[in-house]
């Protein structure tokens, strides 16, 4: 029975069954996983009557006709993707063009022996059993967009750090869209496993030019082992016709630390959903997100932090700037389960509205079942403080410059926390460029 909680979505457009063309087709476990994803994705996209999608409508995405993925692929990998935002950095780099790993553009260099990085499609060919063990737990749980990823992921990568591995240089994953004349969709699957006590910086970047609509639907599945540390930087600067629906899920073992530094600037519609689950005591997670949108962009940040065990700490700060008729959404949920005593969770969302037609919808949510916890959240929204503007103008700055300065400071606070200096510099440049009027 059709429900009002979903929007019908014919994806992919009718045609030959795409499954046989996907890598690893014929592996029984993989076929089963994909069938399950197909079955769930056949329900369509969630509508705004689904509570988790109350503020973000996928109706425009549902109207697009995505051709058969195989056909899209045939249309060609472009010659040379443009320069990437993080190209100047040192260290291994994987480049995905239209969702597929391009060995031509990637360079792994000399990876230390305790670090393993490989493409998903190739992995399925060389080591299906190994991939099965890694992907096995990643059944999408009925999550509507993860189901599409499960069904249609054609490539992606696996990053594994052995226990104790410490990698100074970041690992860069660059996803670049190179659409032809037809809408294009891709569903990369990234698997990150950090062994006990290892440490890594991961930089994830999503780029794309203006042009035909694209839909990138990545699923990043992370496990941080006991005492391990992952710093995860994500920059999303896709073109103005792009749809970006990302799910990042991270499970943290005891004493693990996960940092997320997200900067979302691009796409017509972007949803960054992050699910954190604490599996071991003494772990901590820091989620920092920045979003800047103008024109008619829509940017949605949705996070769920699940405190399932005691003595964990979560800190969440999301800050954004919205101009023109842009719309921002922040939904942050902290769940503290009955056993999760001594949880320490704080969450903050602040938004600057620069235009009378910009809109922010915020839903910070606490769901708490343990009595010995410290949890709080806060949210503010409004234009730059009149006092601040006045102060700057009284020092001779014009209104435009004063506002720029305030926005810069507002976002700058957030970026200060990015530990990897060159990555921080890239993000800062992007923020400055945005403030300067650059579209992405």
């Amino acid at each position: 029975m059709p429900s009002r909680r979903t929007i019908p979505f014919d994806y992919p457009a009718p045609g030959a069954d795409p499954a046989p063309a996907l890598p690893g087709a014929g592996l029984p476990w993989l076929d089963a996983l994909r069938d399950e994803g197909r079955r769930l994705s056949a329900n369509g996209l969630p509508s705004t009557r689904t509570e988790a999608w109350k503020y973000t409508s996928l109706a425009p995405l549902a109207e697009l006709d995505f051709p058969h993925p195989a056909a899209a692929e045939a249309e060609a990998i472009p010659a040379e993707p443009e320069t990437g935002a993080f190209d100047a950095l040192e260290g291994p780099s994987l480049v995905f063009v239209n969702g597929r790993l391009s060995s031509r553009h990637s360079r792994l260099g000399d990876l230390p022996g305790d670090l393993r990085v490989r493409g998903l499609a190739r992995g399925l060919a060389n080591d299906p059993a190994g991939i099965e063990a890694l992907i096995g737990n990643a059944t999408p749980n009925g999550d509507p967009l993860a189901a599409f990823n499960a069904a249609f992921a054609a490539d992606g990568c696996i990053v594994e750090a052995a226990p104790g591995a410490v990698m100074d240089q970041p690992i860069r994953l660059r996803f670049v869209a190179a659409p032809g004349s037809e809408p294009l969709a891709y569903h990369p699957r990234v698997i990150v496993r950090l062994g006990v006590g290892s440490s890594l910086t991961l930089i994830e970047c999503h780029e794309g030019p203006a042009g035909a609509p694209t839909w990138s639907n990545p699923l990043v599945d992370i496990e941080v082992g006991a005492g391990a540390r992952l710093s995860h930087v994500k920059l999303q600067i896709e073109g103005e016709s792009a749809y970006h629906t990302a799910l990042t899920k991270a499970a943290l073992a005891g004493e693990a630390r996960y940092e997320s530094h997200l900067l979302a600037l691009g796409a017509r519609l972007a949803r960054h959903e992050i699910h954190i689950r604490f599996d071991g005591e003494g772990a901590d997670c820091q989620l920092r997100g920045g979003y800047m949108a103008r024109g008619s962009q829509h940017v949605d940040n949705t996070t769920v932090i699940d405190h399932a065990v005691p003595h964990c700490e979560s800190r969440e700060v999301y800050k954004g700037v919205l101009d023109d008729t842009a719309r921002g959404v922040f939904q942050g949920k902290i769940v503290v389960r009955q056993d999760a005593q001594k949880t320490d969770g704080h969450q903050l969302n602040r938004t600057l509205l620069l235009s009378p037609k910009a809109e922010i919808d915020t839903k910070p949510e606490l769901e708490i079942y343990a009595d010995d916890v410290k949890c709080s959240h806060g949210a503010t929204a409004g234009e730059p403080e009149a006092d601040q503007l006045f102060y700057l103008r009284s020092r001779g700055l014009d209104l435009r410059t004063a506002r720029k300065l305030i926005v810069e400071g507002f976002m700058g606070e957030l970026l200060e926390e990015v530990g990897h200096e060159p990555a921080r510099a890239v993000l800062s440049e992007r923020v400055a460029a945005w403030i300067g009027g650059d579209r992405s």
Partner: protein, 487 residues
């Protein structure tokens, strides 16, 4: 002072008992048969001698409600078995209704005895602190006092049935103007079947000199209560209205779906305070009232102000969001709430502040306390419309958990569409610290009293918004509600 002492004494007298109001008055009810169809609506309307327009309005609501079959709200964090709406009885009046008493002497002595047990000494009311009481027993008003005094000022305070007869123009103009008949599942049901409630009109420039108050009481098995309250404060007027409730002990879950509409015109102010301590069910969650209430106020005029204060300690299920629509420029909405749940109680309560006019302000202070195996949820919406230039909201939501088997949840929705608006939301969750308990106990205060003391302190910002008489009662209620939650 005397009213205060009286209230304190009345409260003292029941403070020692877990739930004293578990008795049933034996009044032969003149009831409609259980079930709900067009005939039930016509029966209610006829019984009350209503004009045609009101019957038509009820029928319209009923027909809309029939279409809402799958719209019974499911988004709240509440779990209860499906309600069989055809199993409830939609009209029950004390038999003496057809011949309404003109004075207290004519009131059924059985009823008067009931009020005495409730601590509402109706006959003494006139001597006490100028509180006029419109007491609702089951679904029909039985006595209203102080009318004379109020009438001198042009204030109308009567049952809504009476208002329909005596002041039809006012009722027709405002009824459903804040909560339309099609508003939501429960409000629509109420619109179809409401039996009685209070009506208040305060004319231009009049400051109502006394707190107006109503005591609600649910009686007669299987009788849903569907009060309808309408309060209109005309330009420059002021009124403070108190609503308080107790209910007898019953095994069946009793449905309650009230609608309260407030209208404040230019420069008018309405203060609406509630203490709700209906039967919450027993320690295992058996019985108890289902309370699905739609309360909404509209600040229609410039500089109008509506302030909701509630102390919710009763009911098995509470679904309630007293809201303000801030239409007039510079209008102000306030919501002060204490929600205490214990044992198996579930409360999902909060507010909506809809900012439409320029420089509108709202303030939300919510204190949720969960004990036992209960769940307490704050759910609130702050919406800043594009034209609400300079709007301000501040929200403070604090939750306190007592024991390790309860849940406290905070679900705010903040929608801002005007950059000059400033919206701030803060929430915290904590428990009573061991240090605080030890400090109190070292001073000789036993643990249960210490918890009551600390919780009352936690709630102070809200308690101080209540009129004095209610504040005393509310503090006692806080203690009673948490009995047995520690140790």
């Amino acid at each position: 002072m005397s009213a205060q002492q009286d209230a304190a004494q009345a409260v003292e007298s029941y403070a020692g008992e877990r739930y004293k109001y578990g008795f049933v008055t034996d009044v032969e009810a003149d009831s409609a048969p259980p079930g709900l169809d067009h005939d039930t609506i016509r029966f209610i309307s006829a019984k009350k001698g209503e004009p045609e327009w009101l019957l038509a309005w009820r029928i319209k609501a009923f027909e809309r409600w029939l279409e809402m079959e799958d719209e019974e709200p499911a988004w709240a964090k509440l779990h209860y078995p499906p309600i069989d709406y055809q199993d409830a009885c939609y009209y029950s009046a004390p038999k003496s209704d057809s011949d309404r008493p003109k004075s207290l002497d004519e009131v059924d002595p059985e009823l008067l005895k009931t009020y005495e047990k409730l601590g509402i000494p109706l006959q003494e009311q006139e001597m006490l602190a100028g509180v006029a009481v419109d007491a609702v027993f089951d679904s029909v008003s039985v006595a209203t006092t102080f009318k004379g005094k109020l009438a001198e000022l042009g204030i109308i305070f009567c049952s809504i049935s009476e208002a329909v007869k005596e002041h039809p123009a006012l009722v027709q103009r405002y009824l459903g103007s804040v909560v339309p008949y099609s508003d939501n599942f429960f409000a629509t049901l109420n619109s179809a079947v409401f039996t009685d409630g209070s009506f208040v009109y305060v004319p231009k420039g009049v400051r109502c000199p006394m707190e107006l108050s109503t005591y609600f009481r649910i009686n007669a098995a299987n009788t849903g209560q569907f009060e309808r309250t309408l309060i209109i404060a005309d330009e420059g007027s002021y009124v403070s209205y108190l609503e308080g409730c107790t209910a007898p002990m019953r095994d069946e879950n009793q449905l309650h779906a009230a609608v309260v509409e407030l209208i404040a015109l230019d420069d008018a102010e309405i203060k609406y305070s509630t203490v709700q301590n209906w039967y919450p069910g027993d320690a295992e969650g058996k019985g108890g009232i289902y309370n699905f209430v739609t309360k909404r106020g509209a600040c229609r005029g410039a500089n109008a102000k509506i302030s909701w204060t509630q102390v919710e300690t009763g009911s098995a299920i509470t679904w309630k969001y007293p809201s303000c629509i801030l239409q007039g420029d510079n209008s102000v909405g306030e919501f002060y709430s204490i929600a205490i749940t214990n044992n198996r109680q579930q409360a999902d309560t909060g507010t909506k502040m809809i900012h439409m006019g320029r420089n509108t302000k709202s303030r939300i202070v919510s204190k949720g306390i969960a004990a036992g195996r209960s769940d307490s949820t704050y759910r609130g919406l702050v919406r800043i419309q594009p034209k609400a230039e300079g709007a301000r909201n501040h929200t403070q939501c604090d939750s306190l958990l007592i024991g390790a088997e309860c849940g406290a949840h905070t679900v705010p929705y903040i929608e801002s569409r005007n950059p000059s608006a400033r919206v701030e939301h803060e929430a915290t969750t904590s428990k009573i610290s061991e240090d605080q308990l030890f400090y109190c106990r070292q001073r000789g205060i036993d643990e249960e009293d210490a918890v009551a003391l600390i919780v009352n302190g936690f709630c102070r910002e809200v308690l101080q918004e209540l009129p004095m008489e209610f504040a005393v009662e509310a503090q006692k209620l806080v203690a009673i509600s948490l009995e047995g939650s520690v140790g």
